[in-house]
């Protein structure tokens, strides 16, 4: 059972200062238990001696300096991963939000990852066919490339992202072509749309 601290000293915006902590590591994941039993996640942003500066992943509303408790979990923010994750919808913390069952992890991976060795890279030169002529013909996508799509208000970003994901295929590459979509600060309607559209599209 991890130690519980009731020594929250300050809360300011998404930051919180916890005092007299021992054996807490940098970047460690923590939980805050509110007086009403609600549990919120947080992460250690800086440690200075016995003071830990903590970043809240959720809102600070309702946190009470004297009644809230903080636990540190002894691990970093990890994501349980499994091939069953295909076709599911998750929130920003990796919890399923599609009413489906919990994921049984095959592995737990640190979400920060480790940098790739530049000597181990291959130069991206395999073409990804999206079926969108403006992309394939003029601004070709290449496997292993990072590609942001910039868009303005009211432009059909959702539809264009979606058609890229659903029709992407790469010649000469055996195996599944997995799409992983992240949406920030967007209404739920967006992911419902995507989910609906992607499940209608046949994967070829």
């Amino acid at each position: 059972m991890p130690k519980e601290y009731r020594t929250i000293k300050e809360v300011a915006g998404p930051l919180m200062l916890v005092q007299s902590v021992t054996d807490v590591s940098y970047n460690e994941l923590g939980e805050i238990e509110l007086a009403n039993g609600e549990v919120r996640r947080c992460r250690v942003l800086e440690i200075n001696g016995e003071d830990a500066l903590v970043q809240l992943f959720e809102s600070g509303a309702g946190i009470n300096l004297s009644d809230s408790k903080v636990r540190f979990l002894g691990r970093q923010l990890e994501l349980p991963v499994s091939s069953d994750m295909l076709g599911r919808i998750f929130d920003g913390m990796g919890k399923p939000i599609d009413d489906g069952p919990a994921i049984i992890p095959e592995a737990r991976l640190d979400i920060n990852g480790t940098p790739m060795n530049p000597a181990a890279r291959n130069f991206p030169m395999e073409f990804i066919q999206t079926g969108v002529s403006a992309i394939d013909g003029l601004n070709t996508l290449v496997r292993g490339q990072k590609l942001p799509i910039f868009f303005r208000k009211r432009s059909p970003a959702r539809e264009s992202c979606c058609s890229d994901c659903s029709s992407g295929k790469s010649s000469g590459y055996e195996g599944a072509f997995c799409g992983c979509l992240c949406r920030h600060r967007h209404h739920l309607r967006g992911s419902q749309f995507l989910y609906g559209k992607l499940s209608r599209d046949r994967c070829d």
Partner: protein, 589 residues
């Protein structure tokens, strides 16, 4: 040696206590994982340490151990053709140990200890030697004769020197100094990266670093030992220009620092360089190249160190008497790393959040370039030229990193997004760029390439400037309002831009142009201008002059291979004279 414990952790910055005996800039091993770090500040017994690896999971109370030596690089055979990270860890060998990703706390020696080198001694036992003198050499690649030098600061009599096959750690010579102390010398030496390697004196730069790039060599030349900056917005071709320089610059050794840029670009270098053949030596370009990679996903603190690591390696080769060119892509990412560390240290921010010492740090880096008389008993010369890319956000060079860089460098190759958009590459803007070396280099070009070089260069620049003025008029009243002489000038300027300055990096022949061919190209264009102006005076029609068939050949001259240029230039010249004469005749004058 000093052993302390971690007190504070904030990203790549760790504060440790109990470090009273540690020295500034000592390398320390942090935590049980033995991450590499460097002391950058000491208050009382507290040392601020920048850690070169990811610090997640560290906790207060873990040990910090000082190694007692400053951040140093290993200099010896095995550097050439290697790819190292910002603190000279060999990435190829780390890949063998930890796979495709960089794990933390991996300890691999910078240079391979097991490889056997054939050391050929040139000094003899009993010789009196001083720092910088050559003990012998190792043929590291077919083109690089890696000289083994007496480390700077040592001098005395050689007691023993041993030829033959050695590993890096083997003692190859013993040196007795004036106090009678014996120093054992290995095939490699160490040098702290933040201290420039000493030299006897600096010379004025009077020789150009030929790059094979026409806009650079002809219009804005860089001197051997000079410093240049390539600022430009993204997408304007900084990296391609840097790669072109790394490929074709007439230097003996190239050090390429990929500092905070995309990993795929380093891969491009790694894939392409071994296949490219250096026109001067006929050997693969990789056989003269050292790569330092700190890509954008690698730790920030090591990015700060990477350019020092790179320039120390470059100085080491300079000390052998080589002409070395160093490319840093990009110094903006380096400055951002400096800013991040400075913020963590809670220093007072300067302009745009960069630390107040940004300009002096940049100057310290660039000032290590130069053409110098190297250490040693004989008078020998070596040069180190530095070319830094700057990526100003939004392409606006009024930001601090660009401004601080421009104060130091003497060559400015201003990349222009507009030119890049028009597909004019290299997109170096001829109106804003400058080279302060052009005067001191002019005599070299006149003596070694052709006597008319500088006259031609000046005329070309003048025509381009006049074109910019005429363009203003054309915008207002249209091309037809120009006098025939001005229309001809516009045409010639277009020819200079398209036939001469525009250079295709991916064309087999066009990618590299010798100075003499550059001269011939300038000569043909200007010859056309002179002959056509003459014809206009005789009353020839401007349309006919502009549409002469020979102009096509002048335009295609850049694709003529180097061994045919003289004949081709002669034939174009005589055809040109002939066609102009014909035009004048046809018009009946």
């Amino acid at each position: 040696m000093s052993n302390g414990t971690i007190l504070k952790i904030s990203g790549p910055l760790v504060v440790a206590q109990g470090m009273r005996d540690a020295n500034m800039f000592d390398v320390v091993r942090v935590s049980n994982q033995r991450l590499i770090g460097e002391i950058i500040e000491i208050h009382d017994d507290r040392a601020s340490i920048q850690v070169y690896e990811e610090t997640s999971g560290l906790r207060p109370g873990e040990p910090v151990e000082s190694t007692g030596v400053p951040l140093s690089v290993e200099l010896g055979p095995g550097l050439i053709g290697g790819i190292f990270d910002g603190i000279q860890r060999p990435l190829e060998e780390i890949m063998a140990v930890s796979g495709n990703n960089l794990e933390r706390g991996v300890e691999v020696p910078s240079l391979n200890r097991d490889r056997i080198w054939n050391f050929i001694a040139t000094a003899n036992a009993g010789d009196t030697v001083t720092g910088g003198d050559t003990l012998g050499y190792v043929n590291e690649t077919n083109i690089v004769k890696h000289k083994i030098l007496v480390p700077p600061g040592l001098s005395g009599t050689l007691v023993r020197i041993q030829d033959g096959e050695h590993k890096l750690d083997d003692v190859i010579a013993d040196l007795e100094d004036a106090k009678g102390q014996i120093h054992s010398l290995n095939l490699y030496q160490r040098w702290p990266v933040r201290i420039g390697r000493p030299y006897k004196k600096k010379f004025a730069p009077t020789m150009p670093l030929i790059t094979g790039q026409r806009v650079i060599d002809s219009l804005f030349p860089l001197a051997k030992g000079g410093v240049a900056a390539i600022p430009g917005p993204f997408g304007s071709g900084k990296t391609v220009t840097q790669h072109q320089l790394a490929k074709w610059a007439q230097a003996d050794i190239i050090v390429y620092i990929g500092c905070g840029e995309r990993g795929n670009e380093m891969t491009d270098v790694l894939n392409e360089f071994p296949e490219l053949i250096d026109p001067n030596t006929g050997e693969s370009l990789m056989k003269r190249t050292v790569l330092i990679a700190n890509t954008s996903d690698m730790p920030v603190a090591a990015r700060e160190a990477s350019i020092y690591t790179g320039i120390t390696i470059a100085e080491y080769f300079r000390d052998m008497g080589f002409s070395v060119a160093l490319m840093a892509d990009s110094t903006s990412r380096w400055a951002e790393a400096l800013r991040e560390m400075s913020g963590r240290l809670e220093e007072m921010p300067g302009e745009e959040g960069y630390p107040a010492y940004l300009a002096s740090r940049l100057a310290q880096f660039y000032e290590r370039a130069g053409r110098v008389s190297i250490l040693g008993s004989e008078d020998r010369e070596g040069s180190l030229s530095a070319i830094g890319a700057v990526s100003p956000p939004g392409g606006d060079i009024s930001e601090p990193v660009s401004q601080a860089t421009l104060r130091i460098v003497k060559v400015f190759w201003g990349l222009d997004a507009q030119l890049a958009y028009k597909r004019h590459f290299p997109a170096i803007n001829w109106l804003t760029s400058y080279s302060l070396y052009s005067d001191s280099l002019s005599s070299w070009f006149n003596e070694n390439v052709a006597a008319d070089w500088n006259a031609f260069r000046a005329r070309i620049l003048l025509i381009l400037q006049e074109e910019a003025e005429l363009e203003e008029i054309v915008k207002l009243v249209g091309m037809d309002a120009l006098s025939p002489a001005d229309r001809l000038k516009m045409e010639v300027a277009r020819s200079i831009r398209e036939d001469f300055l525009h250079q295709l990096a991916f064309h087999e022949i066009d990618t590299h142009t010798s100075p003499y061919k550059q001269f011939l190209m300038m000569k043909l264009i200007l010859l056309y201008y002179d002959k056509a102006s003459g014809a206009l005076e005789f009353g020839a029609d401007i349309e006919n002059i502009v549409n002469l068939p020979i102009r096509e050949k002048i335009g295609r001259f850049k694709y003529v291979s180097e061994d045919l240029i003289r004949e081709e230039a002669d034939s174009i010249e005589s055809e040109l004279v002939h066609e102009i004469a014909e035009t004048i005749e046809k018009e009946g004058f």
